[in-house]
């Protein structure tokens, strides 16, 4: 499947007359909808409910936010880890929102991609069976670890085992379901991925309570939206849509009160489009930020809806994903 898709995308690269470059926004407006590449099998981040056909999740909400900023509909395309970068490079999607880690290689001229602000600070960890009595990475010497191909995790895994001088056996699969399925069936001693994913996958295990996520975090995994090189205006729009959700939370603007929100704070007034002409600078309407909050709410609301106690239950307080005023890294530059 994957092979066919990648070859297909390359064929597009061979056959199509490029419609890329400086006009992503215009292309989207002409088309009438935004195309977002996302995950379809990761509850909490990007998940396709096959009974309703509706997408939900943290990344999906950001896709809706960007569409709201422009004022168009949104269409989601499910992608595997291996397909996603090629899909973006070849112009199949306008923005990639699929728990993609920000790395130098991906952000460089080498791959021709730009990373927008991080929406979720993650780190790679391990899930193991409780009964095995494994308490840390060092207990994994000689273990077989299941991994999903096409991610940064394979490299991180090799790095950490090398650094700790441990011996390692791995099994690589094309998709997460097969990979985690093999772990769950006992083919591997551990499964490794970003911790948020582990929390999500744990809920799909045969007996979730029999599995435990190790406390060790072995890598930095800042996740956020990705766009192509070559269109700075579009890069700015996606970047500031993310910042808008940060800004709104910092200033107490929520989905419920944004329509009637009143303030004397000049930067909040600029945010609400009442002065400053901020929308025109991005090529958007003046109330674009208001529309974003109306559609999905502020950062805290998006987090709560998908990753809070009713969702994946990933604690936010004290983590890097808290607002900067609470000691986290969620920080919006000056709105002026």
């Amino acid at each position: 499947m994957k092979k066919i898709l990648v070859v297909g995308m390359l064929l597009v690269l061979v056959l199509s007359i490029a419609a890329m470059g400086q006009q992503t926004l215009q292309t989207i407006l002409d088309r009438g909808y935004l195309i977002v590449g996302t995950n379809a099998v990761l509850p909490g981040f990007g998940y396709l409910d096959t009974t309703t056909g509706e997408y939900s999740g943290f990344d999906v909400d950001y896709g809706r936010a960007i569409a709201a900023a422009i004022g168009v509909d949104v269409k989601f395309i499910p992608l595997t880890a291996g397909e996603r970068l090629t899909a973006l490079q070849t112009g199949q999607i306008d923005v990639l929102l699929r728990n993609t880690t920000w790395t130098l290689t991906r952000d460089s001229m080498d791959l021709g991609l730009n990373f927008c602000p991080t929406t979720f600070y993650d780190g790679q960890g391990f899930i193991v069976r409780k009964a095995e009595g494994i308490n840390s990475v060092d207990d994994l010497d000689g273990a077989t670890v299941c991994v999903t191909s096409g991610t940064t995790t394979e490299g991180n895994l090799a790095d950490v085992f090398r650094a700790h001088g441990l011996s390692l056996k791995t099994q690589v699969f094309a998709d997460t379901e097969a990979s985690f399925g093999a772990y769950d069936a006992g083919s591997c001693d551990a499964y490794t991925s970003d911790k948020s994913q582990l929390a999500s996958l744990r809920t799909t295990a045969k007996v979730p309570a029999d599995n435990v996520i190790l406390p060790d975090t072995i890598s930095k995994e800042p996740l956020g939206p990705v766009v192509r090189h070559g269109d700075d205006q579009w890069f700015d729009i996606v970047k500031w849509t993310v910042f808008a959700t940060f800004f709104a939370e910092e200033h107490g603007i929520t989905q419920a009160n944004v329509a009637t929100f009143e303030s004397d704070n000049p930067s909040v007034r600029r945010f609400l489009g009442k002065e400053g002409g901020m929308g025109a600078k991005l090529g958007l309407s003046e109330d674009w930020a208001v529309n974003v909050i109306k559609a999905v709410g502020n950062y805290g609301e998006i987090y709560e809806r998908n990753l809070g106690p009713n969702g994946l239950d990933i604690p936010r307080a004290g983590s890097l994903n808290a607002l900067w005023t609470d000691g986290g890294l969620i920080y919006c530059p000056a709105w002026r």
Binding site: A81, C146, G150, G186, S187
Partner: protein
């Protein structure tokens, strides 16, 4: 005569079939060239437009990802070597798969023509069931339903006599590993092979001259084994050492281990391809007229002799060409390995392009690798086919 010349002059070149043929070929060639040029140009343009550059320098960069199957490899090796490990793994599963599929296919193909009702029906059901279920589904069946469900966890593995363990991690069995004196013994192996081949040739010509059937391979094999045994006792120390799998904290170590993915892939590919080979063998045998069988049995040949000396040599001419394409299919189908976690060249190749982002280059390399393998297999099979062809005198 004069009239003829005049008439050939009177045909304008656009109605002269010989000229038209040449023109058609030239136009066809020009169209293909233009098409390729257009595609290539487009690729260049689009790559440039999306800011990508083609280059193979990344093959010399450190791979940094693990591979747990095949040749000795560590994450500090380069991408190029990692890809090579993948190629060797593909060759390994394909080569063993081809041998198993051929043996199984020939047995089932012959069974389909058996006069025993039960054997005939079983072979028929095998072919119809296996041939009509997609390979991907069968691979998932072998991997998830058989290997990961029916087999036990490592800690309560099935223990077969002779220290063979069946577990969800794979099959573990004792295996002889070479020791320091293996190098000396290797010369006896080489010598045994050469002498064995000589005996085979000699015996074959002898039998041919006497116009008698026989098995020259038995003579050759006996000589080979005798030389090996002599070498074993002459060489100081044991050239091979037996290691037995032992259960550690997580898994067995020592001995030979066949990973679950490898076993599932091998079973899936062999069982699937065997069904097609069985049909090819059956068709080949049925292509030989019944009169030959009757004539052979009238001469007094036994059933096995009829098959070995009369039917198969002639049937092979019909069997080999389609058999070759089944071998190619098996090799190419092995690229489904990634779905059940076997490190074949497709799996390693995709990992490399995910790590480096070099999709165009890696897909080209993967295509070139499969093409080379297939062409070499074709070449070998064509050579064999030529040798087996009916020599007309």
């Amino acid at each position: 005569m004069a009239k003829k010349v005049a008439s050939s002059h009177s045909i304008p070149f656009w109605r002269d079939i010989r000229v038209l043929r040449v023109i058609a070929q030239v136009v066809f060639l020009a169209l293909i060239a233009a098409g390729i040029w257009w595609l290539f140009n487009n690729l260049q343009y689009n790559l440039q437009a999306s800011g990508l550059k083609i280059g193979f320098r990344f093959l010399k960069n450190t791979a940094g990802f693990p591979i747990s199957e095949g040749l000795h490899y560590s994450p500090t090796d380069v991408n190029g070597y990692a890809f090579f490990v993948g190629i060797v793994n593909t060759l390994k599963v394909s080569a063993i798969g081809i041998v198993i599929a051929t043996l199984l296919g020939v047995i089932i193909g012959i069974s389909r023509l058996s006069s025993n009702w039960l054997v005939k029906k079983i072979a028929g059901v095998y072919v119809e069931v296996i041939r009509n279920i997609p390979l991907l589904v069968q691979l998932f069946f072998w991997y998830f339903a058989v290997m990961l469900t029916a087999l036990p966890l490592v800690k309560n593995s099935i223990h077969l006599p002779g220290a063979i363990y069946l577990t969800r991690r794979g099959v573990y069995m004792p295996w002889a590993i070479p020791t320091d004196s293996f190098g000396t013994w290797a010369w006896y192996i080489l010598g045994g092979l050469i002498v064995g081949a000589g005996v085979y040739m000699f015996r074959r010509t002898q039998l041919k001259r006497a116009e008698r059937p026989g098995f020259p391979i038995i003579w050759a094999g006996t000589v080979f084994i005798l030389i090996l045994a002599a070498g074993w006792f002459i060489t100081p120390g044991n050239p091979l050492k037996l290691t037995i799998p032992v259960l550690n904290k997580f898994n067995f170590t020592g001995g030979l281990s066949l990973s679950t993915s490898f076993t599932a892939l091998l079973l899936g590919l062999s069982v699937y391809t065997a069904a097609f080979i069985a049909e090819i063998v059956r068709a080949g045998i049925q292509a030989i007229s019944k009169g030959q069988t009757e004539a052979a049995s009238a001469v007094g040949l036994s059933k096995v002799q009829i098959l070995r000396l009369v039917i198969l040599p002639q049937a092979l001419r019909v069997i080999i060409p389609p058999l070759a394409s089944q071998y190619l299919n098996l090799t190419k189908n092995s690229s489904l390995a990634i779905l059940i976690g076997y490190y074949d060249l497709m799996n390693v190749g995709t990992t490399i392009f995910n790590q480096t982002g070099r999709a165009v280059e890696m897909i080209l390399l993967i295509m070139a690798s499969y093409l080379t393998m297939s062409l070499l297999t074709s070449l070998a099979m064509n050579y064999y086919n030529k040798r087996m062809k009916l020599v007309e005198r």
